[in-house]
Subunit: 288 residues, 2 copies
């Protein structure tokens, strides 16, 4: 019997398996494993395991790890094909079978059998729109975010669902793109430059779209760090300048009652989810 010492420098291999992209296995698996910060995990994703032959190959790889590592590997399996999953299950691993765990009770609840279609994308569409429409709306929203990045194409703001504003490097661009990619939300973004801040009025381009505005802010010290990466030792990156810009931007947000969010400690996913919630914008379809 192996006794493991907590808080030691423990390492574990993790396999995320899927007959599709592997995103569900990765997302779920990483959420679970993040609850064990004492342990270092090293992850391997094996997507498109959509034949028994590929399953056997991955099984061999897992068993190989079991013999060479400290502890047996953890396997997060989202392969839908039962025969393929059984091959994986027989490996020397700690085995999490995501679909089997939940699909069987769901079949009972819903009174129908699951389709268990293998190897193709699992698309979940709201009933109000087709899968294809949902997909195209995401693509279109990504193109929209790019075309309306950094204050470009001001005349298309009437099409925007939301317009992110903030000083340089507060996270506007990644957030705009993510909103389009994940939710099909059309997000434009407009940089508040020193000229805008000086006049202490909402830039003219934004005046007609005030209800769509959402402000980003960040702690000045963090902003200075990020800007130093981009332009070391510039006035742009100086803490003093960052303090001033942030102070003026926040004053503007309050003056015009623009909702805003501090992005300092947040991931792109969190910034986006919080903005949608605050702005009362419904998430649109995302496919996997």
């Amino acid at each position: 019997m192996i006794t493991r010492t907590p808080f030691s420098n423990m390492k574990r291999k993790v396999f995320f398996l899927s007959d599709s992209t592997g995103m569900t296995a990765e997302n779920l698996g990483k959420s679970l494993l993040a609850q064990f910060p004492q342990i270092q995990f090293e992850s391997i994703t094996r997507p498109f395991v959509d034949t028994l032959e590929k399953a056997r190959k991955v099984a061999a790889e897992i068993n190989q790890e079991a013999h060479t590592s400290d502890g047996r590997p953890i396997v997060v399996d989202t392969i839908i094909n039962k025969e393929a999953s059984q091959i994986i299950q027989q490996t020397d691993s700690f085995y999490i079978d995501v679909f089997s765990t939940f699909l069987s009770p769901l079949e009972t609840e819903l009174g129908v059998k699951s389709s268990l279609t293998v190897g193709h994308h699992y698309i979940f569409a709201e009933d109000s729109q087709s899968v294809d429409e949902a997909y195209m709306s995401r693509i279109e929203a990504v193109h929209f975010a790019l075309a309306n990045d950094d204050g470009m194409q001001l005349h298309r703001y009437h099409e925007a669902d939301i317009i992110l504003i903030g000083v340089s490097r507060t996270g506007k661009t990644p957030s705009s793109v993510y909103l389009g990619m994940q939710f099909g939300i059309k997000a434009a973004n407009y940089p508040l430059i020193p000229d805008d801040l000086e006049i202490r009025k909402l830039p003219q381009a934004l005046v007609d779209h005030q209800s769509k505005l959402f402000g980003l802010t960040i702690r000045p010290a963090r902003l200075a760090e990020i800007r130093h990466e981009r332009k070391p030792n510039s006035n742009y990156a100086s803490l003093r300048n960052c303090v001033d810009e942030i102070k003026e931007a926040e004053t503007l947000y309050r003056q015009y009652r623009i909702p805003y969010i501090d992005t300092t400690q947040l991931s792109i996913e969190e910034i986006s989810a919080r903005m949608l919630q605050r702005a009362g914008i419904e998430r649109r379809v995302a496919s996997l």
Copy 2:
């Protein structure tokens, strides 16, 4: 007892609950429910349920639905706080408790207790890099994709992990951005325009980076559809032109042994995952 008729126009409300962004609940839930195409699901995501008061409010909302809908709602719960989860569990719903299901056996396997930290982002970092580094590499990769979109900034190709090429509207831009956002992979993209295709040689800008190239192709009929949305009744969108451009692009790919992928039936997630697999590029960290 309610008897449900399969293949009828069945509808079910689904709640995705989280004390964070809700992405894990949505991803897992949608993957599961996509296995039941007979049933129409209407989803409601409630992120940031990070207090008992908020849990009670959502519980009331679920019970309200249970009384007004055909079947009781399905609840996919990824709230980590046990007290909050118990409030949700007592609702009149089909209840899936994602974390409880898997965390307890994982604790046994790993020999340590989970941190059960509530309400903050669950970041999973590979041991080779810090969480902050991982996050910054994603942001940087998104900015890289935007700066190197559509053939811009040719001189930065040496920094790219991969360079996507293809004729207009084959999915280069969304795929490049997704690779950065999700995996921290720096993807540039270069559009093959008719002038490039006519000379039947690799454009000069790409010659020095041949090993990084990955081609996108698509069925001409689908390409014509997509282009018609953008420029109706143009030569650009005509089926004949699309057939020619795709044929020439694929010839170029084969001539230079550039790996390529048909994006016709694939989501952005699938295109990206397949490209990384084919190109042998390891996924980098993604946070949730």
